[in-house]
Symmetry: C2
Subunit: 233 residues, 2 copies
């Protein structure tokens, strides 16, 4: 992290770089670290932008963030393959929440309400056993809080078969769009057409026990807390 | 499309290429065109994998597919910027549906149930006015069926300000994971731990009228049909 970046993060502001400068009008950019963190906390699946064999890929995978060290852990073998080919390449980790469809009077003003964070950086494969365990804990807890304590921890052999990347939260672009359509004031407002937002909601349904589960094993409270009524991705 | 690819698509099978060959065990790959189409039909937001200024990006944007011509239309200016820089570059369009969290007895067997399609190809910027209109209709109808007929169509000026890419559905990788965790049979099954799937559900909530909407404009049936109770992304 450069001094400037460090400075800006301490002030609660993200550093603005060539690729994180906001260009478009309709969407709202944010340089607040708090906004970045909120988007990352609200999800558990990201799309990893990497180049593999010369082709850009957007690969869905699970992630988690250690906010104490500001390290983002990304799970997956595709990412690791790309790193073997080009160890010092920048990747992009995108977390997107779709909040609703914006139905305007005119097709042109249609849009999507969303919150999105794109984190850039050169990832580091996690090879140290302790950090692998820690990173897996972060990812697991981000998916299902309480599950790390509950489930059997990985063995040494299982850890060795786990591919995990670490990325420092240094450079990120945060964009959001919210609110109603914006063509109510002009001539399109006179068309007599309905306009508004159709919200999109994501949540966990009722847990479905493994058919192989023996009788008498109760649903643990931390899983019951996920849904329904718990928070989604 | 090569002859081989054409042949395989006519047989309902996707061509297997170096980057669409399935490598992992836990996930199930599919070469059925029907599976690809079902995943594309079930969503309206994709993540576009492109290289911009030398950096891979995973950019969320809306899309739609003309299944008659097997053309995928992707909306957005970032994609277009990347094309200006490198007009013959391959991009990746990823559509992902997260269906649930797989909570196993062991952390190692944890996973996510999902359906994902990664479409590869060299995109073509849509510049012809008629195709722009057609492509926008495909994208709009994919987001909200019935909305194209209902809303005001784009003017010539608005069309000129619309960035749309077209990608032929030739090469794609389809992967899904479903079902319960798989560690019920081994020694972990004896741990007495709960295991199962917590399904993740996405749907449209009740439409929220634009506060600027004059009284007396009824919610059109095609918007009411979206949610609640309609299908999500």
């Amino acid at each position: 992290m450069s001094f400037q970046e460090q400075n800006q993060q301490q002030s609660g502001q993200l550093a603005v770089t060539g690729r994180t400068r906001h260009r478009r009008l309709r969407e709202q950019g944010s340089t607040e670290v708090a906004d970045l963190d909120a988007i990352l906390r609200a999800g558990f699946v990201c799309h990893l932008g990497v180049v593999v064999d010369g082709t850009p890929m957007a690969v869905p995978t699970v992630y988690g963030v250690d906010f104490a060290t500001r390290t983002l852990y990304v799970h997956g073998s595709v990412a690791s393959r790309s790193l073997v080919q080009a160890p010092d390449s920048t990747v992009c980790v995108t977390v997107t929440h779709i909040d609703g469809l914006v139905l305007a009077r005119s097709v042109f003003e249609h849009g999507v309400n969303y919150r999105s964070a794109m984190v850039y950086g050169v990832p580091r494969p996690v090879t140290d056993g302790d950090e692998l365990l820690h990173g897996l804990q972060i990812v697991t807890e981000n998916c299902a809080p309480g599950q790390w304590e509950y489930a059997r921890e990985p063995s040494r052999k299982e850890l060795a078969a786990t591919a995990l990347l670490a990325l420092t939260l240094e450079e990120a672009s945060v964009k959001t769009a919210s609110g109603p359509p914006q063509d109510g004031d002009g001539p399109d407002g006179e068309l007599g057409l309905w306009a508004g937002v159709v919200p999109l909601r994501t949540y966990f349904g009722a847990p479905e026990p493994d058919p192989a589960l023996p009788a008498g094993i109760a649903l643990p409270p931390h899983v019951a807390a996920l849904g329904p009524g718990g928070s989604g991705s």
